[in-house]
Symmetry: C7
Subunit: 94 residues, 7 copies
């Protein structure tokens, strides 16, 4: 599972692209319409994730029709990978 050619070749496994987001803030969309934001502390090939300083985000429309966001602080969490739909990676300049 370990790849030795990261420096030499462009990585090809989707999971490998998470490496550049370690220690950065990412967004994770999870089944049952959950959305988490946290600092990626670790991951594995099942997409199990360790997140630090995590918030669960809730979007709703206020009375004027504006989309607003609330969040609940969860601290450091381990997400079981089979719940993940997709991960938004950190942008290079994050």
């Amino acid at each position: 599972m370990e790849r030795r050619n990261d420096q030499r070749n462009r990585p090809q496994r989707p999971i490998d692209y998470l490496k550049n987001s370690v220690s950065k803030i990412i967004l994770i969309k999870v089944k049952r319409n959950r959305l988490f934001r946290g600092l990626l502390g670790g991951f594995d090939e099942h997409l199990n994730l360790y997140l630090e300083g995590t918030s669960q985000l809730f979007e709703y429309q206020d009375e004027d029709g504006n989309i607003r966001e609330e969040h609940e602080d969860l601290g450091n969490i381990v997400v079981r990978g089979d719940n993940v739909i997709f991960v938004c990676l950190a942008t290079p300049d994050d």
Copy 2:
């Protein structure tokens, strides 16, 4: 599956981060909107969990719109890992 370098290197598998929460109180969010709080007695790579002194928590809004919590004592339980969505780890000073 056994890692020998815990002392030397930062662990990288998300599951490894559960080790620091053993014998501490954690929160577990489970499918079908269940929430458990208990002392982490053991875990494995499937995220099967052994919890001591477990409470299942129920949140509801009272008549004044305040969110309140009730709980049901379950004692010592074994949770099958495939039901787990995420685990909130204990904070270092717990």
Copy 3:
């Protein structure tokens, strides 16, 4: 899968904690909101369970708002492990 050090070390796999409940009464919460109570006769690493003298429990509110319990006797059953959410272990003095 066999562990030889049960006597010497504290077991670490959550499944191992079921051993102390063999031949004792346990509660099992199963998907689709089922609850079973029976004497644990055997289990395996998938959490397949063999239960003796099993009752399926049904909770409901009576006309006065009290939560009451009915049960249906099922005798000796084998539960397929992938339906299990959690198992409440027997207390030491059961």
Copy 4:
């Protein structure tokens, strides 16, 4: 998967307890609220089942509130194990 010590030791795998019900009538509760009754002709470790003379049972309340049972004859069937929730074993004197 073959156990040689059936005569000498008490079997420990839940699946093994099905052996005493072979050629006897059992009840099988299946997902999507199905209930089958038939003679157990064979099984495997996935809980795939071969049943002879099978009836699918339907319970309903009649106009007087009594619970009544209808059934549909299915003959000999093979049930795919992943649909099984639990199996009620035959009683020793069946």
Copy 5:
């Protein structure tokens, strides 16, 4: 996976009982309440099925409360095994 003792011993795996239904008409109950009838052309250990001259059956109540059946011809189909709930085998004299 190949069994050499079919002639000598009674087969024990539920899947093996499908062999006697090859080239005969069987009924297959599939998740999402589908029912197929066709000639069993082949199967494997996952309960993947190859059926010839297949009809999908639809049952409904007519205006007089009689249960009637319509069908849609599907020709030769391959059913993915994980959708199968149970298979009604052909009777010996089919």
Copy 6:
């Protein structure tokens, strides 16, 4: 996984029957009530499918109660096998 005796013996795995439909038009019924029609370009043992010139078909009743069909062109697609319920094979003279 390769079978060398296709010419000599009748194939027995259901998946093998897809070979005769390669480069022919097939229908695929997929979970969540989707129906695809396309030219089978390739498949594997998971029933992953590569389809060329694919249309997704939608059936509906018009105002006169006639069942009509609309379709959406998808071009060349790869279907993940675990979504497939069944595949209608091409008829020999297609």
Copy 7:
């Protein structure tokens, strides 16, 4: 998993057909009715996908009954393969 004969033989695994869409725009239909459009950066045999410059697309009918599309920019994402229903490949002249 690596195929050496891509140049010589027509590839046969459905997954292999994704190779020609690397660095091109593809559409991905995901469970729970999600639709993504992005540049395919990488994939693996589970259909895990790495997408760059991804938009999630939402279709709706406006007041005049026209089907319109809105989108939400997600940036670079990793999609967990078990959520994918199908992938629309890039056309050769994309």
